[in-house]
């Protein structure tokens, strides 16, 4: 029990409980399952993208192009299927591959050319968003076949006790679990933590740091591609500014969830709780009728509080360890 409280995710989980309780008290529609599933649907793309971003941040890097790659992927679905008449499923695959390519380019530029992650992904962010705008002349596209649109609104179930689970939420859950498995059980996962903690040490112990980082960025790109496809299905149209602001939201979720920007620490569970906090915050404020601008304020405050809480905990732990040294396996926990 105490070890749960000590774990990194505890701060954000407590935050989640507090925010949830506040809104549940303020609005009787908040805790209804169909409202909560709605929030989950709205945030499923962000959740998917955040899985990849968590891995990138654990390697000590960062990717601010995620939102733009989501937008580009969503536009590609529209352009290929809506405008050029390609089969919708082929268009989706193509869009995801495009996302993968963007991620791989990021990874290559960062590893082989040794460009700082923030700069490389800044360039990719402008390029991908720009390409999305150019392809569509800044207009949105639609005209998707009904089967695709239906998928965006589809639900699985009924699941006893919960009702219908939206398909996009199910997809997000599957990817979250995939991410957890990769980080916890595969060599790649261990390599990601190692590369983040100390590149030198990782290299010396045989980890191919370049391959690990390339994997992290490419996987993120692929997930962004998927996110773009999911968004196109949900909205039944491709919007050129899809995903704008995602990068900041995703980084906020990852950091709130306990990952350190220096690398070597973090896990996906925390990130997803962070995404959940952001989702219920926006939803709750909307339900109460508070102007949307307050969300931005609260998010900023919560972000800083989360980091502060983490700092305090680290400080307390190191003080305690000075007195009672504990042998603990560093960092490897997804």
């Amino acid at each position: 029990m105490i070890s749960i409280l000590r774990s990194k995710e505890s701060a954000v989980f407590v935050l989640f409980l507090i925010v949830f309780a506040v809104f549940a008290a303020q609005s009787d529609r908040f805790a209804a399952p169909d409202n909560l599933f709605n929030v989950a649907r709205q945030y499923s793309e962000l959740a998917v993208v955040s899985v990849g971003l968590t891995m990138v941040i654990i390697t000590g890097g960062i990717d601010i192009s995620v939102g733009s790659v989501v937008g580009l992927s969503s536009i590609l679905v529209g352009v290929l299927a809506g405008r050029m008449g390609l089969n919708i499923w082929l268009a989706c695959v193509a869009a995801m591959l495009a996302g993968l390519a963007c991620g791989a380019i990021n990874g290559l530029v960062i590893t082989k050319l040794r460009v700082q992650p923030i700069v490389a992904t800044l360039a990719m962010m402008s390029a991908a968003r720009g390409l999305a705008f150019v392809l569509t002349e800044a207009r949105s596209l639609s005209g998707f076949p009904d089967s695709f649109v239906a998928l965006g609104q589809a639900a699985i179930g009924p699941v006893p006790g919960l009702g219908y689970i939206p398909l996009s939420v199910a997809i997000a859950l599957v990817l979250v679990m995939l991410g957890i498995v990769i980080l916890r059980r595969t060599a790649f996962g261990r390599g990601i933590y190692a590369a983040g903690s100390s590149e030198e040490a990782a290299r010396l112990s045989g980890v191919d740091v370049f391959r690990v980082k390339l994997f992290a960025y490419s996987f993120t790109g692929l997930l962004c591609g998927l996110g773009g496809v999911m968004m196109a299905a949900r909205l039944a149209s491709s919007v050129p500014d899809a995903g704008s602001g995602f990068e900041f939201e995703a980084i906020t979720a990852v950091v709130m969830g306990g990952s350190s920007l220096k690398g070597g620490e973090g896990n996906i569970v925390g990130t997803i709780i962070g995404v959940a906090v952001m989702g219920i915050l926006r939803n709750g404020l909307n339900l109460i009728g508070v102007p949307n601008i307050w969300q931005v304020l609260f998010l900023g405050v919560m972000l800083i509080l989360a980091v502060l809480a983490d700092n305090l905990r680290t400080m307390l732990r190191s003080r305690r360890e000075l007195r009672y040294p504990v042998r603990e396996e560093p960092g490897v926990r997804a």
Binding site: I62, L113, R114, V115, Q116, I118, V119, A120, L122, A123, M124, M125, S126, A127, A128, R129, G130, L131, F133, V134, E137, A138, F248, I251, T252, V255, L261, K262, I293, W294, Q295, V296, L297, L299, G300, V301, L303, I304, V307, L308, N311
Partner: protein
């Protein structure tokens, strides 16, 4: 011991700045020259005084913020809140002006607010050990929300006529020149300025040698806030109003200008001059788009391309030296 370490850090950074000052900014300068010439040739209107002054104004807003951002990035930090600080300080000033306060009092208030916001960032980063990107991401949101609530999302204007001159004519570019020169001198010739380079290069070493790392960072972030509010003066004067959504998204333009100008995000290397050139490049590019009747949505792609090129050129030089 502390003294020699500090002195050697000084020596190293001043040597570096002297030796590299010539080289780092050269590619950016050449690029700027090329696009200006090409544009002037293709579109003679570019050279008209009004056009040049307007481009200069765009350049001044991004450039002044860029000077501050350069110093922050030199310490291996970053400040994402500059656009929100700009808007917030402009809003405070606007309300005071509309309330009948003396123009210069209002301007001073704006500058004070900007510096205070910068100081807040500094506190979060130095005392509370929050990573700069997170702290300033948080303050970016908080201040932007703050300005929207403070102005009740209404435009604050029109501002008094006597204030027009700040955002028009030669004033913006003069302000930029002044700010850039002053900060260059600070960075290259004063001791705290040289510490800025040193902190970015190797913070631990500097800390161990007894130099006040926290104090250096505090100066840099506070200055950045101040400069953001100066840029806000220009913008508010040009729009003759302060609005809650002004300068939305500008932080990325500023960072782009800094990167294009050759400053390294990892800290320790870079110059104000490079950033000014970077800001000029971005302003001229934007101007070119409209003069050449290129659809606006090409702007982002071109900006991304320029950033990437600048970074690659920089890397090329790095590899060549190896």
């Amino acid at each position: 011991m502390a003294d020699t370490a500090a002195r050697s850090a000084e020596l190293r950074s001043s040597q570096e700045t002297n030796r590299l000052a010539q080289l780092r900014e050269l590619p950016a300068l050449v690029f700027l020259g090329v696009i200006v010439c090409a544009l002037w040739f293709r579109e003679p209107n570019f050279g008209s005084s009004t056009n040049l002054l307007t481009t200069a104004r765009d350049m001044a807003v991004v450039g002044i913020m860029g000077v501050g951002m350069t110093m922050v990035i030199l310490t291996a930090g970053i400040d994402l809140s500059v656009a929100s600080v700009l808007a917030f300080s402009a809003a405070v000033m606007g309300k005071m002006m509309l309330g009948g306060a003396d123009i210069w009092l209002a301007v001073t208030a704006a500058l004070g607010v900007g510096t205070a916001c910068g100081a807040l960032n500094a506190l979060l980063i130095t005392r509370l050990r929050i990573p700069p990107i997170i702290a300033t991401l948080g303050t970016m949101g908080i201040l932007r929300a703050g300005v929207t609530l403070y102005t009740h999302a209404k435009w604050i204007g029109p501002l008094p006529q006597r204030f027009y001159f700040v955002g028009t004519g030669c004033t913006p570019i003069i302000l930029l020149a002044f700010v850039a020169t002053a900060c260059s001198i600070f960075l290259l010739r004063s001791r705290p300025g040289r510490y800025v380079h040193a902190v970015g290069g190797n913070e631990e070493a500097v800390r161990l040698s007894g130099v006040g790392v926290n104090r250096t960072k505090f100066i840099v972030y506070a200055l950045n806030g101040l400069l953001a509010s100066v840029a806000g003066l220009i913008m508010a004067s040009s729009m003759s109003s302060a609005q809650s959504n002004m300068a939305m998204g500008y932080e990325l333009n500023v960072i782009a200008a800094v990167v294009i100008g050759g400053t390294s995000i990892a800290g320790g290397q870079g110059s104000v001059l490079g950033t000014v050139i970077g800001a000029a490049i971005m302003a001229v590019l934007y101007n070119a788009l409209i003069l050449l009747e290129i659809p606006i949505y090409w702007h982002k792609v071109i900006t991304g391309g320029v950033i990437l090129t600048a970074v690659l050129v920089d890397k090329l030089r790095f590899f060549k030296r190896q």
